[in-house]
Point group: C2
Chain length 473, copies 2
């Protein structure tokens, strides 16, 4: 793909579309003493990458985005769509420079339809803002990535983000009924209808979800919602052996229980995060890992019955003293520790995060393999994640690794980790996406025939290849 | 698209691939006195259509299908894939003749993985056979179309079939993790991985599901499963006003209850089916419609609590005496009546079935509109369906309608019904697919830009357009 550069004429045309206040450039930012804020449009939460955009546009409507895309399509100008910039695979990085198209102004909850348990929202709405808004009317939007307080729903759609509740409730993809999308050519479509079922042509909705901003720009979303589960129970279970923690995950499901959270944290993960947050936590010497198990529902008695069954399963393992969270504050603290592992790792060191995923019963084998590969290549990793989904986040710590090892040497062990995932029936990303940083490994997960189909689809949607170029494949 | 005809050389080549016993032609069937069975390959359960294939192939493996497709691709021979032939939109009809490729011999359950709550099956397995097999080990595969005793899982995938349990558990698409697919060119791919989450490239899995056999031939499926819900409660609620029955559906959900079945049957539907089955049912003069409501879970006490809440909601409506099914036999009878409405209508008259779907709270408006349109154009309809999903099956009864009215005159009122669906936020098929019979109406549901994207995708998968030509668009 060859692209054209931004011209003064295009800049004027962009100003006419979105208004001068919403056309940002490095020069203007410099003049307005907002260079730092401008620089943020060139990075996300992936390692320490930065790529400078030629221009940042902040459109206010699908129609404006349509006009922008038409111009960029005709002029072969690369466009990188951007939500809140919390992505972990580099999907929002403008590696070919050109336009960064931010959806930050599309931040309205347009309708909460209590009759149909649906909501229509714009992509720039922050996940937690949306969750809270529907909760106020007794409804529930389950997908809750660790970054829920800062990530946008548009970004969640781009990667089909999960979160702790995915184990019971599924990921973002399972809540999308219909999408308004601006195609790379500037056409605006709705992908489906506002219905729970739809057998009317190919599933363009699910083709958009997880396509990491390479096929179109989502401008409105119709989500389905659930009644809010009024009760929950949360327990923290310490294990003396990592593999037993991973093994217990499968055993709980086999007992017929579907927890609403089933999180794995190895010792380092929970220790770093509780230190970082200054939330004291007793951590006996012999404890190697924890499971954080949540049960939810409408009836507390019923949940206590389920909790007893979980205790029954755990009796077969070498566990320490189980902490049953008594108060809302205690529950908050435990979840805060879990959610801040990523931040605490980032606070300690630059790191690479691998978003490995396998069938859940293979988790012990994966964990063992990751540690064995780390030992062989001399790197340390902090592992945690959504064990109920078989989704293990492997954080490789930079620590004292040389530039050579960090930039080149790690490719081999990371490939080995991913090959192990595939061998176990899994793949290389469960919820973070491929983006930029996993692109080099896509051949481990996908055969040439699959990639050719994807390239063909990309070509149908984006004949000039201008939308988020250089990502996924 | 122009296609070539079957040649004697191709027939010999097909015999070499699948064996002579699995290559059927009209002549051979005549000679073997199996002409009736052969003719069945030219029809499905859609009205009274029949199209004669040139040859029927019954391959035994993905590899054989790969070889067949390569030959057909090179020779531009049309191929119509076929499951059990129970489809209601004409998807399996070989309208361009050529090859009918039956998956009937791919009928093995390859693995039930109790550790991961997954199963790997071939597409020719009958839905109910699979349900029963997983139930034996305490697991649950929810999608259950009315034809579950005779429809194949491959056909279910082709249309993302639903069934009564979809309201709580979703449709076929929600249980598919990974598909082995033979592409129209003969290449064999897996679409994803055996994981609950996957953000690794475009979602080819969901692109295949619901594509009605136009993009590839599914040869293996990895399904996720749930723990089997041990308890259920079933109630039949008679209403004196159709619209109140439809309205009560929404009210139950707003009360925070998600039933595992929420079926609507107008008077005629339940009357015809109980007559047809000779299952006696008291049906007072003033009853216009019924809701069949099922609750399921692991704990009977909990279900009785929920049932009380449902009774509380129903108090606000003009209902007759609620029948709470006491025994397994009584439950079976009620479900049998619901499942056999289609058969009872077919027994009485040729009919056209429209698979309308709207957001569930719009169901009363849709039902009223259908009856109003029927009155205006002089046709009778029997309406029933999955009210919890807003999915209303409208059976237009042939009765005394003239050939002219049946073949041409109904197009206008059917268009009006579909336009009403779209106006209400719905679409023209919830679970039966577009196939042949709804193709003429696709423009009501989909804009030109959507259809162009779909045609582009079709072209990527099937450059010669040989797979199930003439369907959907």
């Amino acid at each position: 793909m060859s692209f054209n550069a931004l011209t003064p004429e295009l800049l004027v045309a962009f100003e006419a579309i979105v208004g001068p206040a919403h056309v940002l450039t490095a020069q203007r930012a410099e003049a307005a003493a907002t260079a730092d804020a401008y620089a943020d449009y060139g990075r996300d939460h992936t390692e320490d990458f930065h790529f400078a955009p030629d221009v940042v546009l902040r459109p206010g409507s699908a129609e404006e985005i349509g006009q922008i895309m038409r111009l960029c399509h005709e002029n072969r100008l690369p466009v990188t769509p951007r939500g809140a910039g919390t992505g972990l695979s580099g999907g929002a990085l403008p590696i070919h420079h050109g336009v960064v198209l931010s959806t930050e102004r599309l931040n309205k909850i347009l309708e909460i339809d209590e009759r149909n348990l649906q909501a229509t929202v714009e992509p720039g709405v922050i996940n937690e803002v949306f969750q809270n808004a529907v909760k106020e009317v007794g409804l529930f939007y389950p997908p809750d990535p660790a970054s829920k307080g800062s990530c946008s729903l548009g970004g969640n759609l781009a990667h089909s983000s999960g979160g702790p509740k995915a184990v019971k409730y599924g990921t973002t993809k399972d809540y999308v009924l219909n999408l308004q999308v601006v195609l790379p050519t500037g056409d605006i479509i709705w992908t489906a209808a506002n219905t729970l079922k739809n057998s009317t042509g190919y599933n363009l909705t699910q083709l958009m979800v997880g396509s990491e901003g390479t096929l179109g720009i989502i401008t409105k979303v119709v989500f389905r919602l659930l009644p809010f589960p009024k009760q929950n129970i949360l327990m923290l279970v310490p294990f003396r052996k990592e593999e037993e923690a991973a093994d217990a995950v499968s055993a709980v499901f086999r007992a017929g229980i579907i927890p609403s959270g089933m999180e794995f944290m190895e010792r380092e993960a929970i220790a770093w995060s509780s230190d970082y947050l200054k939330i004291p936590l007793t951590l006996p010497e012999d404890i190697r890992a924890h499971l954080l198990i949540e049960l939810d529902g409408q009836d507390l008695d019923e949940l206590y019955k389920e909790a007893e069954q979980v205790y029954g399963v755990l009796e077969h393992y070498d566990v320490g003293e189980i902490l049953l969270a008594d108060t809302a504050a205690q529950k908050d603290d435990l979840w805060k520790i879990r959610r801040n592992i990523g931040n605490s790792v980032r606070y300690n060191s630059v790191y690479k995060e691998e978003d490995t995923v396998v069938p859940r019963a293979e988790l012990p084998t994966l964990l063992k393999g990751v540690k064995e590969i780390g030992a062989r290549y001399g790197f340390k990793s902090v592992c945690y994640g959504h064990a109920g989904d078989g989704n293990l986040h492997v954080n490789i710590i930079r620590g004292e690794l040389s530039d050579e090892m960090w930039n080149v040497g790690l490719r081999q062990p990371i490939s080995e980790i991913f090959e192990l995932c595939v061998k176990l029936g899994g793949t290389i990303s469960g919820e973070h996406g491929i983006g930029l940083v996993q692109k080099g490994y896509i051949g481990i997960a996908l055969k040439e025939a699959n990639i050719n189909l994807m390239r063909g689809i990309k070509q149908v949607f984006d004949p000039h290849g201008i939308l988020n170029p250089g990502k996924i494949f």
